[in-house]
Every structure is written in C-alpha cells, then in structure tokens.
C-alpha cells in the first residue's frame, strides 16, 4: 500500500503547489517495496505532468551526494519515502530542504513535526493497535499463516502551516478540509 501513498502524495503536493513541475524523490532503495514506490511515483508523475528525479540513498554518504546533486539541479519539491533511514536522517534532510526553500512531503507525522510541509499515510496508532490484535490472536493459538493480511483502513493527513508560511505556500481549502492535524 505504501507505493499507492507515494503516488497520492504527489497529487497532494501538486494541489498545494499548482505550478509544480519537478519533484525529487528521496528514498532508501533497500526497504521493501522501494521499487514499487518508485514505479508508482513515476507513473503518477507522468499523469500529473511532473518530472521525477529519483535519488536512492541507502546510506549517509549517498545522502550527502544526493544533496550535492540537488544543489546543482534544484527541484521544486521533495517527496521523502518514509522508512527507518528517513527517520534517522530526518533532521539533516529537513535542514537541507529549509536551506533551499524546498517543500517536503512524506508519509508519517514525525516528518511534519520535523518540518515537512505535509504528511499523508496510514494512521500509525491504528496500525499498532491492529498489530496488538494479531499478536493476541497468535498467543491464543491461531496459526500465523492463516491470519488474513490486512491493509490499513484509517489514514491521517498532517499539515505544517508554519512551514507553509515560511515557504510562502498558500494551502488551499481542499487540503485544509482533508487535514486531520495542523501544525500552526
């Protein structure tokens, strides 16, 4: 499902930035589904008339190299694929984005708190609650192989209006209507 969110986030980004044409997608290529996220992002970008610059960053050195490349060929925004790597280096990424006035969109609220313009993804508290439910079922004797695979059903959109103001982005009514949480 993460790959579908990667595509949806591009749409949301374009809704906040109507003149958006180029987006850098930064992500760890080693996390499961990274290729699908990239493929979905590229497919959606074509449909939305965007140019995608995919930057695989499996480690700190590649992240630094990515920053250098982005300084030379500056995109209009960054889509950050959410995973442990992105969490670990979120401050560095947000500092780079703030320095170059680049809005960042990602999947988990932690990135909005770190300074991303917007995050949209599965509601994490709900996902953890379901995780507890599955653990309970297994402890009560259910076979893990027989338990159904569940897709997230509850999602959350977080807007950081402080970042929006800093970047001079006027967040449209449609985005404010969707928002589950707003940082002001």
């Amino acid at each position: 499902m993460a790959f579908e969110f990667a595509a949806k986030r591009l749409e949301l980004l374009q809704e906040m930035m109507p003149g958006l044409k180029s987006v850098a997608v930064i992500g760890n290529p080693e996390h499961p589904g990274a290729n699908l996220e990239r493929a979905y992002s590229e497919e959606t970008a074509k449909r939305l008339g965007l140019t995608i610059d995919y930057k695989p960053t499996p480690n700190r050195a590649s992240l630094e190299a990515c920053f250098e490349a982005l300084e030379k060929n500056k995109p209009q925004a960054i889509s950050l694929l959410a995973d442990g790597f992105a969490i670990q280096f979120r401050q560095i990424i947000m500092e780079f984005a703030a320095k170059h006035r680049l809005p960042v969109i990602s999947g988990w609220p932690v990135f909005a708190h770190a300074g991303a313009l917007c995050t949209y993804g599965p509601k994490q508290s709900e996902s953890y609650r379901r995780l507890g439910y599955f653990v309970s079922r297994i402890l009560k004797g259910a076979k893990a192989a027989e338990l159904p695979v569940e897709r997230p059903t509850k999602f959350e959109l977080m807007l950081n209006l402080k970042t929006a103001r800093t970047l001079g982005i006027n967040v449209p009514r449609s985005m404010l209507t969707r928002a589950d949480e707003v940082i002001e």
Partner: protein
C-alpha cells in the same frame, strides 16, 4: 427326628431370613440408586437444555445488537452521503461539491472512495483516499447496477466484494429527490464494521447459528451469527474472519 429338631432351631431359621433381608436391602438400594441416577440424569438434561436455551437467547441478543449497530453504521454513512445531494448544493460548482466530498471522506473513515455521477450516467467527480482524484473524467457508469437500481426512496446496497482479496467492501449509492442533482456512490470498507461486531460474537461451542435481516432502507441486508463470529452476508458472498476468497469490485 434329630434332623428336624436341628432344622427348627433358631440358628437354622435365621439363615433363610437373613438372606431374605439381604435381598430386600439389595433391592431397596438398587431401586433407590436407580431413582437417584435417573433423577440426576433428568436434572442434568434439564440443566443442559436450560443452558442451551440461555446461550441461544444470549446469541440472539448479541446478533440483534450487532444488527442494530451495523444498521446504524450504514444509516450514518447514508446520512453523510445525503449532504452531496441536498438541493441547495446541487446548483453549486464542481469544486464546492468536491469540498463537500472531501468533508464526507474526512468525517467517515469507512468510505474509501466517493463518486458523483450525473443523471446521464457520466462520472463528474471521484475522490479516493489512495488513488488520484478524478474531476470531470466523464467515465461511463450507466451500466453499473448501483446507477440502474438506485431510486430516491431506495438507496442501493451492493453485494459484499473484496478488493485485492483483502478487506470486504460494499457499494452504497443514493440519489436525491431530483435525479438531475446527481447520484452519489460510495465504496465502504466493511472492516470497520468488524470492530463493532466481532468482539460481541458468542464464543460457546455447540450453539446453532442463527440469522436475521437488517432493516436498512428498502434493501435489507441479511446477517448471520455463529459461534465463530458474527458474519455479514449478501447474496452468495459473506465476510468472515478469513479472507482470500473474494471477488473484484462490481464494475472493475
């Protein structure tokens, strides 16, 4: 002579009498034992029948409670969908209706996708939590059962289907008093009903399943409750705790 004297002696007479008394005692004990055993069995059977009746009653109450909650769940969604069809809004712009649709998605987590279809069966608007939104795509919905079956006084409740062999979904469609104001179609994730229903299911074994019908609008939804959980079914499909036997969305 001496033998007959011996036979009539008290010791000789005591032998047959004691054997008779023993037989009486054994008979009495057997009869009483049999009575006690039968009484115990009857009591056990009555207790079992009583427990079974109580369990059945409890299951029935739980199933009715679940049915009420499911009915309420569907009605709340229908109440939200009504906002898209109210007359004053019908004359508003597509962007205003889009905002209305986004509000409905925001307020109703169970709705995964929301579409507004014109009276001519052409899609005007499609909002999704996962897929990209479509505005004025003009996709043809005229052959969709939801569009053909829905009427002002009869909301459409489609069959349960599974998206990608995962969660069960149901399509609900509504139309206002004026068909020209459009038809609103929502794909509802029924997993959110499970949160309401599943913990309330009866857990005792040996109880027979039962079923009842939800009075949702004019399209009743039958549900059945069994000892393994309360299930919701429509037509030949049903959603239970195991998935993977699903079918695709109507119209896909």
């Amino acid at each position: 002579m001496s033998e007959s004297r011996e036979a009539s002696s008290p010791e000789a007479r005591a032998g047959p009498r004691s054997r008779l008394a023993f037989k009486y005692a054994a008979l009495m004990i057997s009869v009483m034992g049999a009575v006690l055993v039968v009484n115990g069995l009857v009591t056990m059977w009555m207790s079992f029948a009583d427990q079974k009746a109580k369990l059945a009653e409890q299951q029935k109450l739980e199933a009715q409670l679940a049915a009420t909650k499911i009915s309420q769940f569907v009605r709340e969604i229908e109440a939200q969908l009504q906002w898209m069809l109210m007359a004053p809004w019908a004359s508003s712009s597509l962007e205003d209706r889009r905002i209305d649709g986004l509000r409905i998605l925001r307020n109703t987590p169970a709705i995964a996708e929301l579409a507004l279809v014109g009276a001519d069966g052409r899609e005007e608007l499609k909002l999704s939590r996962l897929a990209t939104d479509q505005i004025g795509s003009g996709a043809d919905w005229s052959r969709e059962p939801a569009i053909a079956a829905v009427a002002p006084d009869r909301p459409y409740h489609g069959p349960v289907y599974h998206q990608r062999n995962s969660e069960p979904y149901m399509r609900i469609a509504m139309v206002g008093a004026r068909r020209s104001a459009g038809i609103v179609v929502a794909d509802v994730n029924l997993k959110l009903i499970w949160d309401v229903v599943a913990p309330k299911s009866a857990s005792a074994s040996g109880a027979s399943p039962m079923s009842l019908t939800l009075p949702v609008g004019s399209s009743p939804i039958p549900i059945s409750a069994s000892c393994s959980g309360t299930r919701m079914q429509r037509g030949s499909t049903r959603c239970g705790s195991r998935l993977g036997h699903g079918r695709t969305r109507p119209g896909d």
